[in-house]
Assembly symmetry: C2
């Protein structure tokens, strides 16, 4: 394999380390947990809780948060329909890279349009995209309004020309048709972060994601 | 911490898992190894060899290859000066995410302009950006011409209107001024892939990257 003295012979490319080898090192299976739902539905709360639960089991995960990415990778994108689609496309591509690296990538974005989510799903091998729908009533999310955005939207204060509309108010949220996991009220009560994470972890354990 | 029966009280956000915790799990330090140099200088060869060497030591790395990314995350970019800059910016942002996730991210791109590389360096915490300069003579790279691109460039066949020029031929390569590692000929002989990887691994060991 030596190329000493024979520079023309260096094109031999070593076999790159493959996904399976990384997964064996980590004793888990790379995948994407894609959390979708209205603003205020608990996406970030679940993402954090799930990350912590996985860490406690010795599993490596990483959270891609829609808001955070807009400060970095997606900082040159606005909120037009095209920009929102590109925002989700890039996030899906990066999530796919993380899954290929062997990590459990937890993506947390409103991602209101079915076609954008399905495009992200299509990037991954079969069954490696776990769509989690935060199915919380709009009224509940609006009552929470953690960022004060529903109030602004109702007052018509975030309808700048570049803004397509606020999801749930003047832009639609398209619920998944075939998501892997649905988080919802139980007897009218919101599950705790720990309960929500447990629901996802149970699914992942049953599907064999938490071992290589 | 329970929010049962009190939906309005869910805004408490669990502490997200931090970089230090992931690094402890992996027993390594997240960082970016940024390999820059002419086409044909051996960037991909080093990236593969380094990835394999790290894997054999039980360390988790992931290669971001400039060409590969153009099939995914960067597939909507061409080769104008703006597009090349955006190509490198996005790669730098993703590399930063991988380093934050605790991985040793190996980025392999021609990245000919100093300002673009320095912008990527600036994204990372101090000393977490390891710039590796493949300092091989143009003549050697052109003799290798693994993709046949130098030949096309010399024949003027890749000067499409959208193309800024071919690095080394009609577009400049700006060598790093203060790179951490320089790979070069030794007594006129090209180092083997194993030797090149060893040079990088030695640096990383000395700097403490291979333990948490």
């Amino acid at each position: 394999m030596s190329t000493v003295g024979n520079p023309a012979n260096i094109f031999w490319h070593e076999n790159p380390v493959g996904k399976a080898e990384r997964e064996k090192l980590l004793n888990q299976q790379g995948c994407v947990v894609w959390i979708t739902g209205l603003s205020g539905s608990g996406k970030s709360t679940l993402a954090c809780s799930l990350g912590r639960e996985l860490q406690s089991k010795g599993k490596l995960s990483y959270v891609l948060d829609g808001d955070n990415l807009r400060h970095g990778l997606n900082k040159n994108l606005g909120f037009s329909p095209e920009s929102r689609t590109e925002n989700i496309r890039r996030t899906g591509e990066v999530a796919n890279l993380f899954a290929d690296a062997g990590l459990i990538c937890i993506a947390s974005l409103i991602s209101p349009y079915r076609k954008d989510r399905d495009a992200c799903r299509a990037l991954l091998p079969d069954k490696k995209f776990i769509e989690v729908f935060m199915n919380m009533p709009l009224q509940l999310c609006e009552d929470r309004d953690p960022k004060g955005l529903y109030k602004l939207a109702r007052e018509g204060k975030i309808k700048a020309p570049h803004f397509v509309g606020f999801t749930g108010i003047d832009d639609p949220y398209e619920p998944p048709l075939n998501c892997e996991i649905e988080i919802q009220l139980k007897d009218g009560v919101v599950p705790t972060p720990h309960e929500m994470a447990g629901q996802v972890v149970s699914y992942m354990e049953n599907e064999g994601f938490l071992e290589a």
